[in-house]
Symmetry: D3
Subunit: 139 residues, 6 copies
């Protein structure tokens, strides 16, 4: 997996562990709730991850954008769907979101490179196992 995403995963996991070991009960509850929100319900989890991406982008948080793009890619969101999502972000949030969209396009490239690497490395039947480890709690 390429560099930027690997660094994101490493820092996120290391600090979440610290947060949850040092954090109080309320912090843990927030993290639990955060992971429950994106599960399948009346709306599919996939749609909610796309919503999470839109929210992250108009609020302009690169790490949150990266996190939800990973989840979306896992859920099979296509390039065309990502770019139409970028349209919604751009039109609602304005040109101030452009630098974040540029970085999101870079992230998309890394994600696709990682996905094609894995799909080449594993036989088709067991491909699901090649799936990235579940992100765990706490975006």
């Amino acid at each position: 997996m390429p560099g930027k995403l690997a660094a994101f995963h490493e820092f996120r996991s290391r600090m979440n562990e610290k947060l949850l070991s040092k954090g109080n009960l309320q912090l843990k509850r927030f993290f639990n709730l955060d992971s429950q929100v994106y599960t399948d319900g009346a709306l599919p989890g996939r749609t909610k991850e796309l919503m999470g991406l839109v929210a992250s982008a108009v609020l302009r948080c690169d790490d949150c954008i990266t996190y939800h793009m990973i989840q979306c890619a896992e859920a099979g969101v296509s390039d065309e769907e990502f770019f139409e999502t970028f349209n919604v972000i751009l039109i609602v949030g304005g040109s101030i979101t452009i630098p974040h969209i540029r970085r999101a396009v870079e992230t998309l490239e890394e994600l696709r490179a990682g996905q094609s690497e894995r799909s080449e490395a594993v036989p088709t039947v067991t491909k699901r196992k090649g799936k990235q480890p579940k992100q765990g709690k706490g975006r």
Copy 2:
């Protein structure tokens, strides 16, 4: 149709008209682009309207929330789907979004009241004609 929504429609239509008659070419282009973004594509228009609702709510603009809720209700979004959307808004945007969600719940009631009124007033077959007039350009 109850009061808050009617007032929203009236002011929005009247001012959009002024905006577009007095506004320059670039303003018109922005409004055109704004209405193109939410049409069906790789993602259904319905999903994009839900994204528009999420973006409006985390950026905390009541009029934009009302606008996208009208579009979502027209597209058949159910109460359960609205409430799961509120969950995403709440968890990403925090408690600062609660007053907006309270007002969104009030808007939802008005929308449902308007919808049931219309469905009672018109025979089932022609129900589609009972549909609210298309919102036009410019959210």
Copy 3:
């Protein structure tokens, strides 16, 4: 109790009730967590309410400002303390917060009027009973 605050209480209670009766489990959990955060702990609840006021003001949500000012006034925050809090809000958040501070000063007047009314109406010993009903969940 003067008009603006009464209207705030009425709408807030009525809509929170609807939110919590129609809302799903996750929405309820968020509201529960929201009320737990401001209880006494390593930091006194009073300090956390002041923090809530600062956060609400720099994020510029009038209803959230009103809510935390009610809680702060209940917790005995003085006028001088409110105004020093406004200083922090102004310097961090800039002049864009001024209209919110103007409205906060109006809210403060209503709160003090309500407090002096109650303190006159009830004998000193039972004054605590004169206390405003607990706000309940969900700011």
Copy 4:
């Protein structure tokens, strides 16, 4: 002068007076500094008022927008200039600013109505005296 602007002036003046009479030294210093920033310097005050309008609009504060539009109109900003300013606001800030721009267009109408009223009422030579009273400190 039409209603919305008159109400804005009345509330703003009344609360600023309270703010500055009850407020501490630091609050007064902030208000003083706020009024110094928009005076002529390397950049004309007029340009800075337009900047204030842009900042207020992308941060989406209606009262601040109204305040800077009054100052801009006083400084002779034309309708064409206002609408090009709205273009910058729209493109940087996105469609989330549209409801604020709608209200700004309404404010512009009231401002123009007030200006033509005054220019009719007073002889041309003394027209400057017809000028709206200086806004004073504290936006």
Copy 5:
């Protein structure tokens, strides 16, 4: 040209190219519109670039700040004008903008170093040719 600006240009050009080659029609339209807004009109392009800088700074996007500072420097904005613009940013946006202003001052130094380098390297008459290549679409 010093390092930070060069890196900004390189990444921006590379990713904009990808964005526009992979992006859909609506994304391209937004980028086109974005570049049209800052041309001369009722207001000079220079004033609009300064507005773009103010909007970028109060919304706190470093890349957007850098982009508009490059355009402003190209348009002949002086140090005194930049610093008065920073005053407007600071007073409207508050101390939360200070870290962005610190980085903007660093950018200004790099811009001036680049400008004096070019003005030394080329004969006065052809100085305009020494001008930085036009930024192209998409901030």
Copy 6:
């Protein structure tokens, strides 16, 4: 003192010096006012620094968060108090603040490492002298 904090101090000092030497009178006044706000008054300076931390975090500025955490640690804020402050930030500001809280936890570790280093290096009585040099003006 570990790397991230040292780099923060170095850049901040160097650029503030430039800002204040090149900046105009109004910029200096803003910086002066900024440092006055956090002194002891009706509210202790410590509480105001905590408020500054909350404001910085919900507005999501890493440098401002770092600055106020340094001041808070100097004022003796405990880990438990920091984590309860993070709770307020999380609940008001939502999950969009999580990446900032992760970085804040990293900053806290560096601060504690620096504090224990200094407390080991200096005899208890003179410990106060081991105190970090006063931050000076301009966050």
